[in-house]
């Protein structure tokens, strides 16, 4: 062994593993060969020692089986009360996971890792409870017997003849931080058993007979010790890797096991797991889905799902490929992924089938090149579309149709071809059978073929009207007819299956594509979720609900229209959101739930939960459906996260804008209010005599200054107040029908002093309709516009005020002959605190036009500015006219002159 610098990738992986481990609880497994070896005892002993060290120990669940020594050890430990579950009238006692999570002990004892939970528990299996506890940061001690270990399940069954149903994935044991083997020699164990120390006496005899045979116990002990040693080995390897010690074996082995729908495939999977463990390499469970898959009976499909599930639990990478020929797909995949060993089952079907349709095994062996192929007793993993096809029911109409076609051929031959060469009649029958083969399934095709031969023989082969054949040559003709029919039928079927598979793929791709397009078109996380839901409902043929996760962790339905989930379903969804793994129907976690809940996991975390409610119970059992579902969920999650990021971005922008406005407001206030105050203070103090004697002219000047500056401040404050009213929404528009002329008049009179030296022309057509407006507010608009025109244009230049009645609105314009605004700023001048950036500060706060816009918008009109031809600026706004009320023209009874 040579010390080398550690591989950076490996170091990174180690850091990641450390990170993942941080915050997680630690798992210690007390591992034994058989019941009674003292696992629980050892666990309790150690727990007591830990408690003596001051650790907060809680006995979550401890099965004492009535053993006195064990019960004595439990004495003094805090025991978590069990939860009572009602199931079909029976009340069951079960470990209370939620109470344990809420209690958060320093160390929790959970006996019998392989236990299956009572129906109605959150998880199907206790080891899942333990995983959740570990994830929550709680240290757990647990016990496990070797016969419950998934990869050794079949071996144990063969040794003991007892099938153990409750198994624990090897990954759970591999992930344990510590394993302690509770070892006892078989003789001692049998002695303990006889002394009644293992099981309660009435159970003992049956147990001894079936399980506790010495031979069994020796084998199990060996298995347990070997498995524990394997783990120690793995730990040492991990240590070597972490410390940059080069591996002592050729790396890069990769095992591929071909999984099919045959029950024996499970044995292949376990064998592959053992081989992979022995080689310390990764392994892949591959299933090739051929077009015939859809025609498999439900039972076979279930077996396949179970096999793949087993492989997944044992730590395999699950791959499903689509292809016509399993051999080609397997080899192509193996080459692409540097697989070194392929494991297939030993064929059990008759040999002639290989001759007819080709053998998977032979194909693999021939095409494998430098890849080793291991053949293990079991069955070929290949899907058998043809066999499956035969099993499928054929509509009786197809047989009728086949008979009709043969009858038609016979009639045609009888009428026409009888008089020609006899081979021509055979050809007509051939065409007929081909037609049937091309359109119907194989059964009708064969029927048509046989009927054709019979009819040909009976009607046309001499001697006529008998089935006797005079010439042996005709047997060759019959043979060719039958072979042709079978061949064409086979190829037709294959083509049809291909088309079907292509259609299926097309459907999946299309669904994904359509969804990605819909998602691209939708804006905002909620709209996205709604669009995604519609697509998922349409694609998966199941009802769906999307719950979005708020930053505080609460889940809310994206579509307010759909009925809310009940508390039970919602709690499943919440669990999924918190743990990032699917749960509910068709999973091992909370399978009693009505829906299947899949996390919408994006790189930044879980953004929501997708809930699915299938009409068909088995809808989500199939891996391809799950893959499609995963793809859809993945796409949805990414899109939602993207939208949420964009929204958060926009929020940030709004905040920045608000910040900018606050700053502008502060600087405006300090500058624009202090300037006039400065002038007033200065002028007043001068007048008071601080500047010595003043000439009467100077005094008048100072007094004018005070007055002017005070009124300027008054205007500024007025604008600020208006702005605040606009922004706070307390600016209530109280419209009333008014002639525009009157409002214009008020504005002009209010500005009399400021417009004194300006030629102001107003042109209001006499037929101008009345407008429903708030006179005070529109007056403010006009005052602001006229004031701006006076402020920003050279003295003496004219100002015009015009109004034009349109069909639906009156357009009012204030026109000047000043410098206008720089191009591109026409819209921005209405922004708050905006000053035209050319340095001509005219002492405004930059609110006048903003207020105008607010008021005009509140009236349902719009306002805009444009530079005039020649020179100057035109600011126009519209006010909708509507239908003015009638004016009361009728005079009262008293005339002008009585």
């Amino acid at each position: 062994m040579t010390n080398e610098r550690p591989d950076p990738d490996a170091l990174l992986a180690r850091v990641r593993a450390d990170e993942a481990r941080a915050g997680r609880g630690r798992l210690k497994v007390f591992f034994g060969a058989a019941p009674g070896v003292g696992k629980t005892y050892a666990m309790l002993e150690e727990a007591r020692a830990r408690r003596a060290e001051g650790v907060d120990v809680l006995a979550g669940v401890v099965e004492t089986h009535g053993r006195k020594e064990t019960m004595a050890l439990l004495d003094g430990l805090e025991v978590l009360p069990r939860r009572t579950l009602e199931y079909r009238g029976v009340s069951l006692q079960e470990f209370d996971l939620d109470a344990a999570l809420a209690r958060r002990p320093g160390l929790l004892l959970v006996d019998e890792l392989a236990h299956t939970n009572a129906p109605g528990s959150r998880h199907v299996r206790r080891w899942q409870d333990v995983e959740e506890l570990i994830d929550a940061g709680i240290d757990v001690y647990t016990t496990l017997n070797v016969q419950h270990l998934e990869s050794l399940n079949d071996v144990v069954a063969r040794i003991t003849g007892v099938e153990v149903r409750e198994t624990v994935p090897d990954a759970v044991l591999d992930a344990a931080d510590q394993i302690e083997v509770a070892d006892l020699s078989p003789d001692d164990l049998l002695q303990r058993l006889e002394a009644g120390k293992v099981y309660v006496p009435e159970q003992a005899r049956r147990a001894i007979a079936r399980f506790f045979r010495k031979g069994n116990l020796i084998a199990l002990r060996e298995l347990a010790l070997r498995r524990a040693a394997e783990r120690v080995d793995a730990q040492m390897r991990g240590y070597m890797r972490e410390h940059g010690i080069r591996d002592t074996w050729p790396a890069g082995d990769r095992i591929l096991v071909c999984v099919g729908h045959n029950p024996h495939s499970a044995r292949l999977v376990r064998a592959a797991r053992r081989m992979a463990a022995g080689l310390r390499c990764e392994w892949i469970a591959l299933h090739v889905e051929t077009p015939g898959h859809e025609r498999l009976p439900a039972r076979d499909r279930d077996t396949l799902v179970a096999n793949l599930h087993l492989a997944e639990e044992l730590g395999a990478l699950i791959v499903t490929l689509y292809g016509l020929k399993a051999t080609d797909e397997i080899l192509a995949y193996a080459r692409r992924h540097n697989v070194t060993r392929i494991i297939v089952g030993k064929p059990t079907h008759p040999r002639w089938r290989d001759l007819l349709v080709g053998s998977l095994l032979e194909g693999l062996v021939r095409g494998s090149g430098d890849i080793d192929v291991y053949v293990i007793s079991g069955d070929e993993p290949e899907d058998a579309p043809r066999r499956a096809g035969r099993r499928e029911a054929v509509a009786p109409g197809q047989y009728g149709w086949a008979v009709m076609v043969v009858a038609a051929c016979t009639a045609l031959n009888w009428l026409v071809f009888r008089h020609l060469n006899i081979t021509d009649t055979a050809m007509v029958y051939l065409v007929g059978t081909v037609l049937v083969a091309a359109r119907a399934r194989r059964g009708p095709a064969v029927v048509a073929s046989v009927l054709s031969i019979a009819a040909f023989d009976f009607f046309f082969v001499p001697p006529l009207f008998t089935f006797t054949v005079s010439d042996v040559n005709y047997f060759a003709t019959f043979g060719v007819m039958l072979a042709t029919t079978l061949l064409i039928s086979a190829y037709t079927l294959r083509i049809r299956d291909q088309a079907e598979a292509a259609r299926e793929r097309e459907h999946r791709t299309g669904a994904l594509y359509a969804m990605s397009r819909a998602l691209a078109a939708a804006g905002g996380a909620t709209a996205l979720a709604r669009a995604a839901r519609r697509h998922i409902v349409g694609t998966l043929d199941a009802d769906a609900v999307i719950l979005l996760r708020a930053p505080d962790g609460t889940l809310t339905s994206a579509d307010p229209g759909e009925p809310p989930l009940d508390e039970k379903e919602l709690s499943v969804a919440r669990w999924v959101a918190d743990h990032g793994t699917p749960a509910g129907h068709a999973t091992d976690t909370l399978p009693a739930a009505r829906g299947l809940y899949v996390p919408l996991a994006a790189p930044g975390g879980v953004v929501g939960v997708l809930g699915l409610y299938a009409k068909d119970e088995r809808r989500f059992d199939h891996p391809t459906t799950r893959q499609l579902l995963d793809a859809l969920a993945n796409q949805t999650a990414l899109a939602i996260e993207r939208a949420q990021l964009a929204e958060r971005n926009a929020e940030g922008r709004v905040e920045m804008e608000a910040e900018r406005l606050r700053t502008s407001l502060l600087s405006s206030l300090s500058h624009d209010l202090r300037t006039p105050l400065g002038a007033i203070t200065g002028a007043a103090s001068s007048l008071k005599g601080e500047a010595g004697d003043l000439s009467p002219g100077a005094r008048a000047e100072l007094l004018d200054t005070i007055l002017e500056e005070a009124s300027r401040m008054n205007r500024l404050i007025g604008n600020l107040l208006d702005m605040i009213r606009l922004e706070s929404g307390s600016l209530a528009v109280k419209p009333d029908w008014q002639p525009l002329e009157e409002v214009v008049g008020v504005a002009l009179i209010r500005l009399d002093a400021r417009l004194k030296e300006r030629p102001v022309t107003t042109s209001l057509p006499p037929d101008l309709p009345m407008v429903a407006m708030d006179g005070l507010l529109i007056e403010q608009v006009l005052v602001n516009l006229l004031e701006n025109a006076a402020k920003y244009t050279p003295a003496g230049t004219p100002i015009e005020l015009t109004a034009v009645a349109g069909e639906q609105a009156v357009t009012i314009a204030v026109l000047d002959r000043g410098p206008g605004v720089p191009p591109g700023e026409e819209a921005r001048i209405f922004d708050k605190f905006h000053h035209v950036a050319d340095g001509r500060a005219a002492g405004g706060i930059g609110l006048g036009l903003t207020i105008c816009r607010g008021i005009v918008l509140a009236h349902g009109g719009r306002i805009w500015a444009e530079n005039r031809e020649g020179a100057g600026l035109a600011v126009r706004f519209t006010l909708p006219t509507g239908t003015p009320p009638p004016v009361t023209e009728t005079e009262e009874a008293t005339p002008a002159a009585e």
Partner: protein, 230 residues
């Protein structure tokens, strides 16, 4: 300080405002009594019987409108209301309660003195003069003959226009609320919408004003009503 000058009661809570008014009115020959609260104002009005009352609408212990109403129960002393801009409805309420005029803060001294003069003169010439003819700048009306002149030219008005114009001329210089004018022209029972008054006023301006869009005499008091200016 002229002992014979008119007595003004100032009901105003702001000391700065009182200081400014005290200086201004003192210098213009008025005598002044000050009250910082509504309660004190009403008491002083009863005990001093002033010639004119300046009333701030925003008082700490009560509503200026209420004060007006209580004063009007027993005295016809002219009341000029002082208020901030943006509270047009308060002004209308005060005027409807019997106030004679209003001023919007901030206001100039000239404006204040002019309004006070108008109010005091109306008291001196008898409530809303019964004189057969009234003149206001270039405008003249003969109330007995129902004739209207603009300068030397007689202007023909419709009966409704005449009613409106006569009402304004009778109260020249005083602000008249919309409600008041509607009642005066159409009769209080009619419930005529206010836009009729605005249209009528527009017609009147076109007959009597040089520049109807910038009226000199028939002026609008935004949100309150109209006033005939000299």
């Amino acid at each position: 300080m002229s002992v014979a000058g008119p007595l003004v009661l100032l009901i105003e809570d702001e000391p700065q405002m009182r200081r400014f008014l005290r200086a201004t009115l003192d210098g213009n020959g008025y005598r002044l009594v000050e009250a910082p609260t509504a309660r004190e104002g009403v008491t002083l009005a009863a005990s001093h019987n002033p010639d004119l009352i300046l009333l701030d609408l925003g008082l700490p212990d009560g509503d200026g409108i209420d004060v007006t109403r209580r004063l009007r129960e027993w005295t016809a002393t002219p009341v000029i209301v002082i208020s901030a801009r943006g509270r047009e409805s308060d002004k209308v309420a005060a005027l409807d309660a019997g106030a004679d005029d209003y001023l919007t803060k901030p206001f100039g001294t000239g404006e204040l003195l002019a309004r006070m003069r108008v109010a005091l003169r109306r008291v001196a010439t008898g409530e809303d003069g019964d004189a057969p003819t009234v003149e206001c700048g270039v405008l003249k009306v003969d109330l007995a003959r129902r004739q209207v002149w603009r300068g030397d030219v007689e202007v023909h008005l419709t009966p409704l226009e005449y009613k409106l114009f006569a009402e304004l001329m009778r109260h020249a210089g005083k602000v008249l609320t919309q409600k008041h004018l509607l009642a005066a022209v159409w009769g209080s029972h009619a419930g005529v919408p206010a836009h009729n008054l605005r249209v009528l006023m527009g017609q009147l301006r076109h007959k009597l004003e040089d520049e109807p869009a910038r009226p000199r005499h028939l002026t609008t008091e935004p949100g309150v009503g109209y006033r005939l200016r000299e």
